[in-house]
């Protein structure tokens, strides 16, 4: 019989594959000997400890990328009570899990309670406390924490019955400094940070019914968005925006599915949502850009709306066990319109611009037919064809034709794509999957959109007992020859992984990936009011990623984990940022390539003090180095010590 400890060790081996942060400690306190109170079996475990931090270099960049700090916190907690025979008085399962509570920048808690046949309730709460990377240039600034909280509540009444009811509520809030629409010309047109206050509430009400072999789901939801950020910037470029920004979306969703034995299955969806936006904006601003206009008053009144409709019908037909035919038809339409009017009054020139709400409509119709053929249990093929046509229409009515997007325009783009796949499985240990896609669109909207593209994906996996070895390759190519210029992109990724548990006390895992990306695109821009054409934007990135880990159990006395993760962009191999000096804009000179190194070794020791009590200590080091620009570089040491116990 497989022992509890064996199970835990094998599971830990698997968990290492995703291990990046040193905490919470995954080694369980064992043996888990659940308490039995009345008709319930109860298990609990908690890990509480202290995290320490030392940073040298750019502390703000560390906070933007990692953000673990000092202090006492609950690294992890788990409480579960389950009825012994699934027939508890008030509930059959109660579960509470928490991570990072108290001080960590990433905190979460999940609560679940259910009574078989009567109700299920799920609560998911999360907090992300992160520093904004302020500007998108490589030498940008990172400032201050923004807190993003998410909570979801879902209650299902009569969950295992033929008719069940659903009630849900979600809230998303952002609070803290973030980039706003405020621009300070005195500081060189840098975007300013303000204390943002954004809230989204979503309410859901629905039901599931299973009658006459059909499953019908209906859901109605209401979403309310409110941005109460106040901007009242003084100084040389005053800008005022005091009114809240409100939006509302409500919609219906209907699902209908039916299985006709094992040969035919149908799945359909119809959704409609209407987004309204009370976009009343009344603001005064000095134009932040170099312009003849000294100041403006902008007034936007009326209602904007965005009705969106989507419909899908998936049909799977399996006339014989070896063949299945899948057809996926979809339709969706988004229309942005309304009676909004935009008025811009320039105080310097006394000119005004009146713009009725711009209409942007997108309608798409697609169909995808796939045939799967499995002549043998170890051999399979699939092939498919997709046609998709998308039409968009843009209308703007402006009193001043200098406004962009004035007038109307329609365009239709059609995609034709084919897929082919091959699947081989030998002796249940070796599996090979190969697939490819070839596609063409006739009128892509953007220079970088897919036009003539092909992709390839392959994976080989060998699994024998506790040994897993696999390799993955993917390549995506696109060539988009449009008017004036052409664009091409090549993306190739390769991955290999291995996990092995030769002994109960020893586990290895290793992953390596290479992500290669290069793009070439024609450029048109101004330098000192001179139009530059005929140059090319060439971007090259060669990202290498490696992650290795080993877990060692020293009898029953201690568990040790050592890991190392490394990300390195080697660029195009150059050692200096400068190119051949032929391009007037340095960033476009020769090739855009930005080598960097980001690596994090970690170590963890965990010692069982008693059967239900463990002492843990760990260390993780972060290093971030950009080769050409060192202003954002940092080194950070984080360490923690904790006690984990179960009872």
């Amino acid at each position: 019989m497989i022992t509890c400890r064996t199970i835990c060790i094998f599971c830990l081996g698997g968990m290492l594959l995703g291990q990046q942060a040193v905490t919470p400690t995954p080694e369980p306190t064992e043996p888990q000997n659940p308490d039995k109170i009345g008709d319930y079996t109860i298990t609990q475990s908690f890990e509480v400890g202290y995290r320490a931090l030392s940073v040298t270099g750019n502390d703000a960049t560390y906070q933007s990328q990692v953000n673990y700090g000092d202090g006492l916190r609950l690294f992890g907690g788990d409480l579960e009570a389950s009825s012994k025979d699934g027939d508890g008085l008030l509930f059959d399962l109660l579960s509470l899990k928490a991570e990072g509570l108290g001080n960590d920048p990433y905190e979460s808690a999940q609560f679940k309670i259910e009574k078989n046949g009567w109700y299920e309730y799920d609560l998911n709460w999360r907090l992300s406390d992160y520093v904004n990377p302020g500007l998108t240039t490589a030498n940008g600034v990172d400032v201050e924490n923004l807190q993003h909280r998410l909570q979801d509540h879902d209650l299902t009444i009569l969950p295992q019955s033929k008719i069940s009811f659903l009630l849900g509520f979600s809230r998303s809030t952002e609070d803290g400094p973030a980039l706003t629409s405020s621009v300070d010309d005195a500081l060189g047109t840098e975007a300013l940070f303000e204390n943002v206050r954004r809230t989204e509430d979503e309410y859901r009400l629905g039901m599931d019914a299973k009658v006459w072999g059909f499953k019908l789901s209906i859901l109605h939801d209401w979403e309310f968005f409110r941005d109460d950020t106040e901007i009242n910037q003084g100084g040389p470029a005053p800008f005022t925006q005091l009114q809240p920004d409100h939006g509302e979306t409500s919609g219906w969703r209907g699902f209908l599915s039916r299985n006709f034995g094992s040969t035919l299955a149908v799945n359909g969806r119809l959704t409609y949502q209407g987004t309204g936006h009370g976009s009343s904006v009344d603001e005064e601003a000095f134009n932040a850009l170099p312009s003849t206009v000294p100041s403006q008053q902008v007034l936007v009144t009326g209602e904007a709306s965005r009705p969106a409709t989507a419909a899908n019908l998936d049909v799977v037909w399996s006339p014989v066990a070896k063949i299945s035919v899948t057809n996926e038809a979809s339709f969706d339409q988004v229309l942005m319109n309304g009676n909004d009017t935009y008025v811009q009054f320039d105080t310097g020139t006394l000119d005004s611009v009146v713009l009725n709400f711009q209409l942007l409509g997108i309608r798409r119709l697609s169909d995808n037919l796939t045939v799967n053929y499995q002549p043998k249990s170890w051999l399979g093929f699939d092939t498919g064809y997709e046609i998709s046509t998308r039409r968009f229409e843009s209308i703007a009515e402006a009193s001043d034709n200098s406004e962009p997007a004035a007038g109307s325009y329609q365009q239709t783009n059609t995609l034709n794509a084919g897929t082919l796949g091959f699947h081989l499985r030998l002796m249940k240990r070796l599996s090979v999957n190969l697939s490819g896609e070839l596609g063409h669109t006739n009128r892509p909207i953007y220079p970088i959109s897919e036009k003539n593209y092909h992709t390839f994906h392959g994976r080989v996996q060998y699994r024998a007992g506790s040994l897993l070895v696999a390799a993955t390759a993917q390549a995506d190519y696109n060539i988009n020859s449009v008017s004036i210029s052409s664009f091409s992109s090549e993306s190739r990724s390769y991955g290999a992984e291995a996990a092995w548990t030769p002994k109960q006390w020893l586990t290895f895992d290793a992953t390596y990936s290479k992500l290669h990306l290069n793009t070439a695109d024609g450029l048109t821009y101004f330098v000192d009011s001179t139009l530059i054409t005929g140059t090319e934007s060439l971007y090259i990135s060669n990202l290498h990623f490696a992650n290795v880990g080993v877990r060692l159990a020293l009898g029953k006395r201690a568990d040790v984990y050592l890991g190392y993760s490394r990300v390195q962009d080697t660029g195009d191999g150059r050692s200096t940022a400068a190119g051949d000096g032929t391009n007037p804009v340095t960033a476009f000179d020769d090739a855009q390539t930005y080598p960097l190194l980001y690596d994090t070794p970690l170590a963890r020791l965990t010692v069982p003090l008693q059967a239900r009590l463990r002492f843990n200590v760990g260390w993780q080091y972060y290093r971030y180095n950009e080769q050409f620009l060192t202003i954002r570089d940092y080194h950070a040491n984080t360490a923690y010590t904790s006690l984990a116990w179960s009872f």
């Binding site: 199970i7 594959l17 990328q65 389950s82 699934g86 046949g117 999360r126 992160y130 500007l135 998108t136 629409s181 621009v183 047109t189 299973k210 499953k215 968005f225 941005d227 599915s257 149908v266 799945n267 987004t275 936006h277 976009s279 932040a288 170099p290 998936d314 049909v315 799977v316 969706d332 942005m336 309304g338 909004d340 942007l360 997108i362 798409r364 796939t370 997709e386 998709s388 998308r390 699947h423 596609g439 892509p444 909207i445 953007y446 970088i448 696999a470 993955t472 004036i484 390769y494 992500l515 048109t524 821009y525 009011s529 530059i532 934007s537 971007y539 993760s565 804009v585 960097l596 980001y598």
Partner: protein, 299 residues
Amino acid sequence: MPRISPLYFAMLACGTIATAATYVGSDVCQKCHPDIREQFTGNPHFRTWALKHEQGTGCEGCHGPASDHVRKPSSRTIFGPSAHTAEEFTERCLSCHGTDMNRAAVHNSQHTRAGVGCTSCHSIHQSVPHTDLLAKAEPGLCYTCHPTIQAQFSMPFKHRVNEGFMKCSDCHTPHGAFAPTWRMAERPHMVSQRLLNEEACLGCHVEKRGPFVFEHTAVRVDGCETCHMPHGSPNARLLKRPVVFTMCLECHNGSGSGRTGLGMPITPSFHNMADPRYQNCTGCHVRIHGSNADAFFLR
């Protein structure tokens, strides 16, 4: 009385002759498998046992009638992992979950097409995280087959998946999803749709939903991935390029069709791109996802 060949009993013992096995009940199973019975408490499948709605629930709900297995304990006399393929397991799971999980969606998913069956990700008896019977906790479970995605989540700038703040299933639907309502509906596969039919990103980044008086068409027509790498990136704000203007100018070079058919608008002449001031596009065009107050997304 007809004589029965000894060969018949030999074949029966080997499981090469199917007999009309009958249900014996889960209480019989736990006499030989008490450890599995103990682990089964608290398992969602325990409901099929505890509710006792109909015959064939509990152990036999998945493993089939066990009378033959009781007479001849062997992996050949019961439906189990050693003698059946992932596809057969999927079909067995869909016999109950075909309505809830939706057979059509599961068959149409990229996972099923690649031979990934239910038991590739779910451990029915020994689920470790006790969440949806997963064999391992996310994201480690997903990384097992997607090492390049693990690489993306290990970049300096990334969504906090490894840190536990998010899960892969926050954005993805591993059991199959409807065609996306953005791009040309060809990709990405198995991505959840937020607020009924929107791109998954808008579930958290609600302030970018709009509608705006002035929409940045790229967001609405081709989606967030036009500029961002959703999993992780070596560049701030998950952008495709470390220097923002090099990315913007790849589209705004006068080529293509754009929203007006005149090509993507190029920058005005006072934008001296050799001046660092103009190389940080979003330093001025701060409402790049859409604005109610400025056609150039300045406010």
